[in-house]
Symmetry: C2
Subunit: 191 residues, 2 copies
């Protein structure tokens, strides 16, 4: 997605530790007009998948999912909750997510009442790095016996294993901006 | 807002401890079409305030702010981050928020680069109970010397002090659904 790549080149910051920071328009401050374009693009890519629901994860996935829903006829979105406390609850589906950035283990939760057997689910998230977050959402869909019709991410780095890992599980993966390389002085190249 | 009140009556759950749960359409699963109507209504109520930016707080405020932005010409939104760790950082504005529901103290953070002196800020959130969350956002605006042009909440309980507390600080407060009373068997009355 050209518009997004240009925006990442313009406003993205490369931080030590191979971190791409795009919190001026996606992760902290949000450019909602850009989110509309992202929503349109996800709809174009997954138009044939006919999802009943979008599943994402707090916090950065919420705006993305919210602005994508409209293009699928205002299907509901569900955002998984992330907690460091491992409070097993009977009425939730739960999965573990290891965050490499923060070196911390999260419990990811979705209330059982909002994910049903046979429901067609489109999974969306901001970053696809090692695939940990997306994998936890896939795990939760499996528990609910929901049908995953696609997995979309706004950004990935092609030299990280996440995208291939999810594809190897047999899912249709679409990424809007594929970072091929980043240099310490802030040069970002796309595939 | 009639549509919202009807939805709360239909799908809201009253839990022990005077808790109103509306996570089937606002706090966990999100009805994006309803969010559009909420966005339109916030725009109608704050049309004259001409904000440059919407400030909200993760996670439940994000969809509300995202769907309101469009009606103000796609102004950027910024969501404050909530953490239990008190990691004072030089590049953020920070305030404390005491959550009565969870009996826990949060640190609320906004990066300095996303809130500027003189900027006209509309503060939006889901619930206005004791006013703790909104007060932390107001505090952060004060630190940034930003100009608060209005404070909006989707739901409040009129017998809790939050709404009056913010109004007493001199701010224009608008609430879309004012709960007057709730009974243990789930009856919800509006003002």
């Amino acid at each position: 997605m050209k518009l997004l790549e240009e925006r990442i080149k313009k406003d993205g910051k490369v931080l030590p530790g191979d971190i791409l920071k795009i919190d001026s328009f996606l992760n902290h401050q949000i450019d909602v007009e850009l989110m509309e374009e992202i929503g349109k693009e996800f709809h174009r890519l997954f138009a044939d998948s006919d999802p009943d629901k979008i599943l994402t994860i707090e916090s950065s996935g919420i705006a993305i999912a919210s602005l994508t829903s409209k293009y699928f006829g205002y299907i509901p979105i569900v955002f998984a909750k992330k907690t460091v406390a491992a409070n097993m609850a009977k009425d939730t589906y739960e999965a573990k997510e290891h965050s490499y950035t923060r070196n911390i283990e999260y419990t990811v939760q979705v209330a059982r009442e909002f994910l049903h057997e046979g429901e067609k689910v489109l999974i969306l998230d901001d970053f696809l790095a090692n695939g940990e977050a997306m994998n936890s959402l896939i795990d939760i869909c499996h528990q609910a016996k929901a049908q995953i019709v696609g997995c979309g991410a706004v950004v990935c780095k092609t030299y990280q294993p996440g995208e291939q890992r999810i594809r190897d599980m047999g899912y249709d993966v679409e990424v809007l901006a594929r970072v091929k390389s980043m240099t310490d002085d802030g040069e970002i190249e796309f595939e």
